[in-house]
Symmetry: C3
Subunit: 216 residues, 3 copies
């Protein structure tokens, strides 16, 4: 940072700026996950296509929120938490959204119309994880209820563990029963995006745990 | 950093050291992308193999430049930009080169000889992105023409968007028309490396935008 | 970090805390790699399954060590090396363990029973890399024998290069001789996890080289 610009960095607006953006990003992920659950449960292909287009648009919105967070990080010298933690938390929420959109996009691109229980269960776990993420993010603002944040992080870890097991079983099933290699590739990629979305919830939880430790 | 070594970190050589290395790295990516475009457009397999070997060697050269940048970052306490930005920018340029080499290497390894329009167009976008990247990097030295850097970043973002759409269409086509699963895997991996190279140009642009914000 | 918690960060326990954890993490990777080599060389499927279960448990143990390292990083303001280096070194060792477990897990999940020379050789290189990693980590504590650390890093780089070449040849062979696309996918993923484990050894070596430069 150049010396002649250092003073503008000291502004008291840090909390006013960062928390609303984090809350918007987390809420956007919850909305995307809600629509994903609808998309894998509907039996109407046209409805599904429409839902997937909504997910696409929300992912763009999420990108803009993340970009805004990075810009604010560049402009603000004083931040409510360590800069690195803010950057990693913003990235992790963005990665949740990216992987929801990636899974939905592949469902459309690969013309998938048979949604098995593994896909439905993983989508449901992404929604649960996103909801816990949003709850924890809302508590970050004042850190009065650290116990609540810690509890959400523990639940996110447990959700990710469940997703891991479902993913492993789903992939094992594919290799046992799917004889069409191209179908196998399609389903494996969709399962992989879904599972990665829960990994990214866990990444966000890890950053929040680290923030809790530093503010103990 | 240990206290007894802190003084050697304050040397005024920062600009002399970092900018030439960044310019070499960016130029190396442009040369690699130029050769890639030649390789996917030649109809002579022997010529193509020779070009791919050249890309391999340039990737090694790029690795050395990146390594040198990291070493200088370790040795210099005062840096022209935030240390994290220098690290990320060097990594992003290295990742552009890695993915160009990865795509070229797979073309050779998988004995690909049919280069469709999607592959040619993606290679062309990598070259355009690398050229914009080099232009922006050259302007970083004095930051007199911030507008030029910002414009290059905007063009890189647009190039990455175009690459995304071509990649999605190319993969959809593969799943619709390619009945040989093994050929599908080969082409999908090559397309994926090419598309990732443009993502890495965008990563570099994001770091430069963040540098601009901090020096506004 | 909040002002009212800054004082508790200044404790002289840094060396007592970080080095034993790093040594445990590196040793855990060596044990995992040793068991992996056994698993790919045994002809008894039941023995192999048992070994893979052991690798699973050790990976959990490694996760706990890494988590402990991150917690200490959050709690300690003074660290023996740059915080970023500690974080990256812990991540890299964790990634070695993750990829060993990932490869072993796939061997079990995909019911692989034919372990070719490429798989055996890559497993052996992971073991060699992990042993060099542990040697270097033990020397980090006092930095008296920097030459030894540098030598281990050079050997890790050479091991990673060998692994790259074996991986490329193994994948080329798959695409030349394997006509069953599903078997091709299975083997390619296992080879990829094994090769990535040696990449992660190299990542760890890069961090240690950077620590050496800063403490020159």
């Amino acid at each position: 940072m150049s010396l002649n610009s250092i003073f503008q960095y000291f502004t008291p607006k840090d909390k006013k700026v960062f928390f609303p953006l984090f809350e918007q990003a987390a809420n956007n992920a919850v909305v995307m996950a809600t629509i994903l659950v609808e998309a894998v449960n509907t039996t109407n292909p046209a409805t599904r296509e429409d839902l997937i287009r909504q997910i696409d648009k929300l992912e763009n919105k999420g990108d803009e929120i993340t970009h805004q967070l990075y810009l604010e990080l560049g402009k603000n010298f004083i931040t409510p938490f360590d800069r690195e933690d803010i950057h990693q938390l913003a990235s992790a929420i963005d990665d949740v959204a990216d992987n929801i959109q990636g899974a939905a996009n592949r469902m459309s691109l690969y013309r998938i119309d048979d949604f098995n229980e593994h896909i439905k269960k993983l989508s449901d776990l992404i929604l649960q994880g996103s909801i816990e993420l949003e709850k924890a993010i809302k508590e970050l603002r004042d850190l009065k209820n650290k116990r609540n944040i810690a509890d959400s992080c523990i639940r996110i870890n447990s959700i990710e563990n469940q997703a891991d097991h479902i993913f492993d079983r789903a992939v094992a099933d594919l290799f046992l029963y799917e004889t069409d290699a191209i179908r196998l590739i399609k389903y494996k990629e969709i399962l992989s995006s879904l599972e990665t979305a829960t990994d990214m919830c866990e990444d966000a939880a890890n950053v929040m745990e680290s923030i809790l430790v530093k503010n103990a």
